[in-house]
Symmetry: C2
């Protein structure tokens, strides 16, 4: 795979302007993750344009800045259109170097740091890479949460459920694992997840191991047709993947959750991010 | 735990101004994740201030906007200081409603969408929650990568290593698991990881299962003192956690990697985000 996130397959032709295809650079003297997250959010608002994305992290000395400059110039000359550059750059000298090129610069820190300094009455540290430093309590908590999520994925362990912040239940392949991981990584929540299996459907009851934790127990569900498609990829033409099985399991799971008064979320047309944020709102209530 | 991310433990006293403690709201008609990531990056630049962070996602109708407004006003009145509000708000009516309050608004979309519209020559979609939609190829790829990372965590399976984008090796607890998960979630990379275990140290060779994949094999290492601290928490006063064991294992692991010409990264003073981005640069080379 192409890890420069070359989303477009179109190659720009030299000298020929193609306004429906643009290149966006994410440039930072840190990891560039903030620039990339914001950049993607912005690009998603523009339909009908193919965006080619190029990352330039750790641009923290004049040599790297020159390399980055050359690449931006190259793209501009080959495509005949100036590139977009989303930046988080704390170093003012390197910032000035990059600005020599003809590009649309969207500079996150420039735009927001100045009003914040005024509002807070202090100068910013103007140091690099702080937002992801190792030292903080939040960081350590996030790592612990990720380890917890892995250790409690798919019902592997129920030893430590009392220390979970949230426990997810649902049928196999409804999205419990990625949702748990996302909750742990993005929000530092200790998320366990428990599959509902044929034995549970036979007993027509949620697993005994999770019922004591009703206050942090949430369900995930999904449309049977979509579940069928996902399971088909995993075990084609199996009983497990059959549409009928999916229908029965989803109906049974929703019935159990309704009976126990467990709040559940439908993954069918929502992303993991949306479900994760809704879960956090539900936990807070 | 407090999932409103109340970082500060200080409670503002009514009517008393405390400028070293401020409240920041992340407000969005989507998940608010973009606002939060940027906001945290900005806050990290300001030392000596306790920030209390409050999330308001999915503010997509006048009722929710009113609720959010009330909360902002409440904080302002209780603390005597106006709050900070980082926003990604596509809906202009709701945006205008919120702006009635006295706060410092840092509005990501307002600042960047207009210049982008001009540059791209098209109007933005002004629709909500697109950046995290389910449909896209990138999203599906990311979910598949997360499932891959889980299935190939800690050497659990070596069935599918040929399909990995990257394979990490290192001693137990050096940070392989969170790094693999981060690579999969943030960048959609299929990351497998393999622990180095006493048997490998005895043989003084990297595991046979990973050696055929030298071109995508990378090492992680960590200072023995820090490894000792991490292992102490897991199995206090065990041989596994002993400083001597940690020293021997780290020295042995680094010797093996050096001999095989495997590039490695030191987790000691770097965050997972930094290591992940460095890994991606190394893979691209």
């Amino acid at each position: 795979m192409n890890t420069t996130a070359n989303i477009s397959t179109q190659q720009p032709q030299a000298g020929k302007k193609n306004l429906s295809s643009r290149t966006i650079f994410y440039v930072s003297d840190g990891t560039g993750i903030t620039a990339e997250v914001l950049g993607k959010g912005l690009l998603s608002q523009f339909d009908g344009i193919d965006f080619r994305q190029i990352r330039f992290p750790f641009v923290d000395n004049p040599e790297k800045a020159a390399e980055c400059l050359n690449r931006i110039r190259e793209v501009r000359e080959q495509s005949g259109i100036r590139p977009l550059v989303v930046m988080t750059m704390m170093n003012p000298e390197i910032n000035a170097m990059l600005r020599q090129e003809d590009a649309l610069f969207l500079d996150l820190f420039e735009v927001f740091i100045a009003p914040l300094e005024k509002e807070l009455g202090v100068k910013s540290a103007h140091t690099v890479g702080r937002s992801h430093g190792q030292a903080g309590h939040e960081y350590i908590n996030r790592i612990a949460a990720m380890n917890f999520a892995i250790a409690h994925d798919d019902g592997v362990s129920d030893a430590d459920l009392k220390n979970a912040d949230v426990i997810l239940v649902g049928v196999s392949r409804c999205g419990k694992t990625p949702t748990s991981l996302y909750l742990s990584m993005q929000f530092g929540l200790r998320a366990a997840n428990y599959p509902l299996i044929p034995e549970d459907f036979e007993r027509d009851r949620l697993p005994d191991t999770v019922l004591p934790f009703r206050d942090k127990l949430f369900g995930l569900t999904i449309a049977p047709e979509q579940l069928h498609k996902i399971r088909q990829e995993r075990r084609p033409d199996s009983n497990y993947a059959a549409l009928d099985t999916c229908r029965q399991e989803v109906a049974s799971a929703e019935r159990m959750m309704r009976r126990e008064g467990i709040k559940w979320f439908d993954m069918t047309s929502k992303s993991i991010e949306e479900i994760a944020v809704q879960l956090i709102q539900a936990i807070n209530k």
